[in-house]
């Protein structure tokens, strides 16, 4: 018996090492796939080890594993544009698992729950429950089954923080009097509601931050579950996930110029109120696909700045053709990626990689910004606010201080845009009125296609 127990512990130990290696190998695209294999091996080992536990009956375990696999496979095969909502959904599943296990553990142990145990158990189910509904809401917004517009009302933050405070208060009471078992369901229901309320005021533009934050919560709840179950493996996996989510949240909030406390309380979205008012009718210069193609062909250095609008228009593959056509003509083409260009951290890189654009041409904001003064053409496709020079110059602008791609420093700026409508934040973009800016009005996919035809056709 003791031997088996040791074997189980050793499988967990090896699994832990494999998990850390898995994340380490993810540091470079060259070794990243090894990371997935290490993760899979660790997971398999840990599950096999667990199944060796003495006195388990396998009936329900097997049913659960099979059903989970049946649900998991299609979730692994969604389109790349749907990855953000898939990720949000998997945060919800992870949190659901943690909450259910926590609930079961409470009813198995109650009413004699030691204080420390009750404390971590409370942390586990509160974080788990709010992450569950919060992630479902986020997934719904991303999938556009729920309205993307932020819904705000007066005193929202007070209501939300009040709910959280009540949940914590109940937890404190349960720690002192675990025999008051009727309080436990409340400690789940209130955070479930809080999760919904937390996401209601958040608009589409803030989704990258929200997903990262929910990721962090999911990790922390799993770590709390590790304390409840005395599982070092789980504490470590939860800590790794929590750390990862936290790093990404901080990255995203920096990229959006939001303070970190703002993010921690989930109280973002207020800046959405910026009114689209004062419709200026300053003149802009526009150009045809032929003219655009001519300028691009004559350039020696081009930086393409894609935004989510490009993905919405399904223009990635046309952009790749443009990349090919220009590269063939000897033009140096790079991509400048803003951290919040997609719907989740790194999303734009995945969308471009899917279109077979080599990853060494995808440059992060800080790496490309120095290049713009030597760039002949900056071509902006479906991005707006992340190129808005007002963020750098206009102290009154709602996005003042947000780091942007300095496209206005390029010799020529071209913007593919449907119309002059304002972007996510509803802010006018002075970039469009510069003398060096050419507006290319039309659907991104069509327009890029026309430029490509011009470039390849003209060459024979």
């Amino acid at each position: 018996m003791i031997a088996t127990e040791h074997v189980i512990e050793i499988t967990y130990l090896i699994a832990t090492a494999l998990f850390i290696l898995s994340l380490k190998w993810l540091s470079s695209p060259a070794t990243a796939r090894h990371g997935v294999w290490a993760g899979e091996a660790g997971m398999l080992l840990a599950i096999v080890g667990t199944l060796m536990h003495h006195g388990l009956t396998y009936r329900w375990v097997a049913i659960g594993l099979v059903l989970g696999t049946i649900i998991g496979v299609p979730l692994g095969k969604v389109a790349m544009t749907a990855v953000p909502q898939r990720t949000a959904l998997s945060h919800a599943f992870g949190a659901l698992c943690v909450t259910l296990v926590g609930t079961a553990e409470f009813y198995l142990r109650a009413p004699d729950v030691p204080k420390f145990m009750m404390g971590v158990l409370s942390l586990e189910v509160i974080l788990g429950a709010l992450t569950f509904t919060g992630s479902l809401m986020a997934a719904g917004k991303l999938q556009e089954v729920l309205p993307q517009r932020p819904i705000t009302y007066k005193g929202q933050n007070i209501v939300n923080l009040g709910m959280l405070a009540i949940a914590v208060g109940i937890a404190v009471m349960l720690v002192q009097h675990p025999e008051k078992m009727y309080l436990f369901p409340l400690m789940i229901i209130i955070p479930l509601l809080f999760g919904v309320m937390m996401i209601i005021p958040i608009g589409g533009a803030d989704m990258p931050t929200v997903i990262s934050l929910l990721n962090s919560y999911a990790g922390l709840s799993a770590a709390a579950m590790g304390f409840v179950l005395s599982s070092k493996l789980l504490i470590i996996a939860g800590a790794l996930d929590g750390a990862s989510g936290l790093i990404l949240s901080v990255n995203m909030s920096k990229a959006m110029n939001r303070s970190f406390t703002n993010v921690l309380f989930g109280a973002f979205g207020q800046e959405q109120n910026a009114v689209a008012g004062e419709k200026e009718t300053r003149p802009v210069r526009s150009a045809s696909p032929e003219e655009a193609a001519g300028i691009l062909a004559a350039a020696s250095k081009v930086v393409i700045v894609p935004g989510y609008g490009m993905a919405v228009a399904q223009a990635q593959h046309k952009v790749r053709e443009l990349y090919d056509a220009l590269t063939k003509k000897g033009v140096d083409v790079k991509f400048g990626i803003h951290p919040v260009a997609g719907r989740m951290p790194g999303h734009m890189n995945v969308l471009l990689a899917e279109a077979d654009i080599p990853y060494d041409k995808l440059l992060e904001m800080d790496d490309i910004n120095g290049d713009f003064p030597q760039t002949d053409v900056a071509l902006i496709i479906g991005a707006n606010d992340v190129t808005n020079p007002a963020a750098r110059e206009d102290k009154n602008s709602p996005i003042y201080g947000m780091p942007i791609l300095d496209v206005d420093k390029a010799r020529t700026v071209m913007v593919i845009k449907r119309s002059m409508a304002a972007g996510f934040a509803g802010i006018d973009n002075p970039l469009y009125y510069l003398d060096k800016t050419l507006m290319l009005f039309g659907d991104a996919r069509n327009f890029v296609g026309l430029i490509v035809r011009e470039l390849t056709g003209g060459h024979g």
Partner: protein, 98 residues
């Protein structure tokens, strides 16, 4: 196999430091696969669910445990599949880079 509070906190703290150091090095290029991978790894919570459903100490525990296994397993399977699909797409323009 019992774990006292302090040991648990040490484990948590060390793992958090390792997590920060390792994950800070992940290129922003791969932040989406990073999130789907950590999500899959986080589903190691399935271990707790398996014991719950397998021991069957109460009907409630079995039911909740089984649902928890379904949720976690779908994360493991889906998470690894999509991470690998994404990583497969990342190619360089140079045939081999040092």
């Amino acid at each position: 196999m019992n774990l006292d509070l302090l040991t648990g906190l040490y484990v948590f703290m060390l793992a958090a430091f390792i997590g920060f150091e390792v994950i800070r090095r992940v290129s922003p290029l791969l932040h989406t696969p990073l999130m789907s991978l950590t999500n899959a790894l986080d589903a190691i919570a399935v271990v707790g669910a398996i014991i719950l459903a397998g021991e069957g100490k109460s009907t409630l525990a079995t039911i909740l445990g089984t649902i928890a296994i379904v949720a976690a397993t779908s994360n493991i399977v889906g998470g690894f599949i999509i991470t690998d699909r994404m990583l497969k797409m990342f190619k360089t323009s140079a045939p081999r880079k040092p």
